[in-house]
Structure formats: structure tokens, C-alpha cells
């Protein structure tokens, strides 16, 4: 695994740069692949094999910003497969609750039953999925594995004002119907199951049109259908490193500043250009498009420095999603480990 050694890596600066950074040029990305092979740098006296203590020493997490539904943090000292595994688990392997079965009692709107059912399935439900079990196939619904919502909306014209009532069926019209002892599961009003947002339009109605539907929510994972994914987006990018040659000053410096659409560069009092906001860089490479700047501006990304962005749909907090992803992965490891131990014995 690629880790910085205690001797600050490979002695040859070019090789060290190749080992730790990805370079972007006009023609494309250079040196994109990481080298994980343990003996890759043996000839220059660097041990590239995995060492847990070294990993713990070099590994860092910094939380850059956090709100209820969004978390941005950086992970330093890990490899792409680890970051990618976490991203994949967050998207497709953390369970949530979503509408799976829709019993349509009455639908006189112009929207077809199956389209309506699909739209209902995509509405994020705000409820802690950890309180429920997975529903087994071909088994009856129980209070431990199912939530029931009722959607009963009738559009009509007010006889006095002539105003149309319930012109749009919204997610707030989905009313939770507690079964058995479910009310005891959610004693607090704010914990009660409900759609994440109240103003998601389900369909437009005209006077006289009615929808009467019962929705059954089940617990499942995003690998089965994206409606069960707890995240809107879970992505990562590598930390950008932009270095500008000292020779760029005066008019050239102003030209470079204007080239960048994200305003990454600033001019210091000395007249020299610096990358003041490297995190804003989208790697559009506009600054090196011009051949005269290509030699003077170097755009790189640090190979083991990941900036993660997790945006939750609302069922779980972003922080909880990340912690659940780690737990799920450890569980996966344990299952595989147990199976391997059985092979040994």
C-alpha cells in the first residue's frame, strides 16, 4: 500500500513526485495509476509494503464542513481502492426505507398507475432504518419490517371562491398509518415516519379527480434499486496542488488570473502569482491551454489525499452514513475472513 515512509519517501525527487502525485497536462493525465506493489521501489531503498503502524501514523481525517445533510471531509494517507470501496458502499449497500408496494384503490388522475407508483417509490422517507428488519420474500407484512402510508387526495373547486383545492398532490399528503405497536417505536413527534420534504409534487389534479392509495415501505439496499440509496451523491476527488513559476509577473500575471474561471489564483504584494484557493480548482486546465503558460504552471493532484463529499437524502445524517459504511465493510471482511478460516480447518 502506498504510504509515506518515515524517511519522507523515495530519495529521487522525480520518482517521489511520480509516486505521490498525478500530473495533468494539456494532452491528458500523466501517471494516473498508483503503484501498490510492495517491491516497486526496492532498488531505491524504499519499502512500499503495507505496514499497519505506518498507516496509523500517516492517516488523518479532517472535517471541512458539516451540516445535517452534507458532510465534506478530507482523508489523508489512504489509497484509491479504500476510498472507492467506501464510496460504493455508501451509494449501494447502506439500507434505508422506501415505498416498494403500492395498492391503488382509486386513481382517476391522468397519470398511469405504474408511473405514479414509481414516483412514490422515489420519495425519500425520513425514518431510522435501523429500527426495522429486512422483509423476507414471500412473507406477510409485519410491524417490524413495514411502514404503511396512506395517500388520499381529492381535487375539487370551492363553490364560494371558485378556487381549486388540492390542485397538486404533494408528499405532505402521505400520512403514516401506524400498525400494531409502531406508535411506541416512535414516541417523539419529530421521529415519526414521514416524507423527507413536504413539498415534493407527486402529481397534478383537476377538479373531480381522486387518488386513494396505500403505500408499503420496505427496508432494502441501493444495490437492488437506487430508491433505497441513503445518499444523493457520495463522491471524492484528489487534493489539487498548483504551482506557478516565479517568472510570471506583471501583465502575464494578470492574464493568468483572467484565464481561470474559478478564480484560483491571486497576485501577492511581491507581484508573484500564487494558487490561493486550490480547493476551488476543477482541473479545467484553462490556465495551461496557452503554450506560453504550459511550461510555467504545473497542475497536480495528491494521490493519497481525498476530499470526500457526502450528501444525504435525509433518512440518515451524512456522518451516520459514513460510519455505517465502515461498519458494513468491517462486517464484509469478517464474513470473508470466517469463510477463509473454514477453508484452513
Amino acid at each position: 500500500m502506498v504510504n509515506k515512509s518515515t524517511t519522507n519517501g523515495v530519495s529521487d525527487p522525480n520518482l517521489e513526485n511520480k509516486r505521490t502525485k498525478v500530473t495533468l497536462t494539456n494532452s491528458g493525465v500523466e501517471n494516473a495509476r498508483g503503484t501498490y506493489y510492495s517491491g516497486a521501489y526496492t532498488s531505491v531503498g524504499y519499502d512500499n509494503s503495507f505496514n499497519l503502524n505506518r498507516f496509523k501514523e500517516n492517516f488523518k481525517i479532517n472535517i471541512l464542513s458539516e451540516s445535517a445533510n452534507e458532510l465534506v471531509f478530507e482523508m489523508i494517507g489512504i489509497d484509491a481502492p479504500i476510498a472507492n470501496a467506501l464510496r460504493r458502499i455508501m451509494i449501494s449497500e447502506i439500507p434505508t426505507m422506501a415505498i416498494e408496494k403500492v395498492y391503488i384503490i382509486n386513481n382517476t388522475s391522468i397519470l398511469q398507475d405504474e408511473v405514479l407508483a414509481h414516483r412514490l417509490g422515489m420519495i425519500p422517507i425520513k425514518v431510522d432504518p435501523r429500527k426495522f428488519n429486512f422483509k423476507l420474500p414471500n412473507k406477510e407484512y409485519t410491524a417490524e419490517d413495514t411502514l404503511i402510508f396512506q395517500l388520499k387526495v381529492k381535487c375539487e373547486k370551492d363553490s364560494v371562491t371558485g378556487k381549486i383545492i388540492n390542485e397538486t398532490a404533494l408528499s405532505k399528503h402521505l400520512i403514516w398509518v401506524p400498525t400494531q405497536d409502531q406508535e411506541e417505536m416512535f414516541p417523539n413527534e419529530e421521529d415519526r415516519p414521514r416524507p423527507m420534504e413536504d413539498d415534493i409534487p407527486i402529481m397534478k389534479l383537476r377538479p373531480g379527480q381522486v387518488i386513494d392509495i396505500q403505500c408499503y415501505c420496505e427496508k432494502n439496499i441501493g444495490r437492488e434499486h437506487i430508491k433505497w440509496s441513503p445518499v444523493c451523491t457520495a463522491s471524492y476527488r484528489l487534493q489539487p496542488v498548483i504551482s506557478v513559476d516565479k517568472s510570471i509577473k506583471g501583465d502575464k500575471a494578470n492574464q493568468l488570473l483572467e484565464k481561470c474561471p474559478k478564480k484560483v489564483f491571486d497576485i501577492e504584494d511581491s507581484g508573484q502569482v500564487v494558487a490561493a484557493r486550490p480547493l476551488d480548482c476543477t482541473m479545467c486546465r484553462e490556465c495551461i491551454r496557452d503554450p506560453e503558460f504550459e511550461q510555467n504552471v504545473k497542475i497536480e493532484r495528491v494521490r493519497d489525499h481525498f476530499i470526500f463529499s457526502i450528501e444525504s437524502t435525509g433518512a440518515l445524517k451524512s456522518r451516520e452514513i459514513f460510519q455505517e459504511a465502515i461498519k458494513i465493510f468491517i462486517e464484509k471482511c469478517n464474513i470473508v475472513e470466517e469463510s477463509i478460516n473454514k477453508l484452513v480447518n
Binding site: 503495507f50 499497519l52 481525517i61 482523508m75 471482511c333 470473508v336 484452513v344
Partner: protein, 120 residues
């Protein structure tokens, strides 16, 4: 309906073994491991962890078919060890690595909370 049940992607069938190993008959110290109901998430990670081991000569993985969620991992080791031990060691390392990662994350969240509390 002709469609297969969607849970077949991740639910292990009754009586099936999660991991099976087949020794290579032509190459010494080489084996093929098949992990059922897993995909690139774990395949790529195990491969990376394996090739960081000094005793590994070759480690690679593939998903034989994108609709069948099985992973084949092929390993060849030197004479100091055997593929089974290497996979065991790798899985152990990954577990520890992720536990360490989790602890660091929880620690950072606590720090962030404490800082926020100071300004309230």
C-alpha cells in the same frame, strides 16, 4: 415474470460457501479464490492489499460476468507462505485498517462538536 429475484445479487443461497479455493495444477503456490455475492468493492480492495504483501508474486481479480456478482481472485506467492495465509493476513489487515479509520473519524466528529459547542 421471468426476471430473477433482485435479492439474488447479494443473498447467499442455502448451502453455498461464501469463499471457495481451487489450487492451480500448473503453477506452484498459486490458487484461485471465488467469493460469492461480492463485486469490485471488495475485489479491488483485496487485490490492493495482497500486492502490498512482500510474499506475493501475483495478485489479480476479475468479475467473470457483470450480472453475476461473484469475484475471482488469483494469487501466486513465493515459497515462504501459501495463498490461503496471505488472504487471511490481508483480510485481517483490512479489518484493522477500517477500525482505525472509524476511530479517527469518530474522534474528528467529537472534536468538531466540541469546537462548535464552545461558540454556542
Amino acid at each position: 415474470m421471468n426476471a430473477p429475484d433482485r435479492f439474488e445479487l447479494f443473498v447467499l443461497p442455502d448451502g453455498a460457501k461464501k469463499v471457495t479455493m481451487v489450487r492451480d495444477t500448473k503453477i506452484p503456490n498459486a490458487s484461485m479464490f471465488t467469493i460469492l455475492k461480492e463485486d469490485h468493492t471488495i475485489g479491488n480492495l483485496i487485490r490492493m492489499q495482497l500486492i502490498a504483501d512482500q510474499d506475493i508474486i501475483f495478485a489479480g481479480y476479475r468479475m467473470p460476468h457483470p450480472l453475476e456478482h461473484n469475484v475471482n481472485i488469483r494469487i501466486q506467492t513465493n515459497n515462504n507462505t501459501n495463498p490461503l495465509e496471505c488472504v487471511q493476513k490481508s483480510m485481517e489487515c483490512l479489518s484493522r485498517e477500517f477500525t482505525s479509520l472509524e476511530n479517527s473519524f469518530i474522534e474528528q466528529v467529537q472534536k468538531k462538536r466540541n469546537v462548535a459547542d464552545q461558540y454556542i
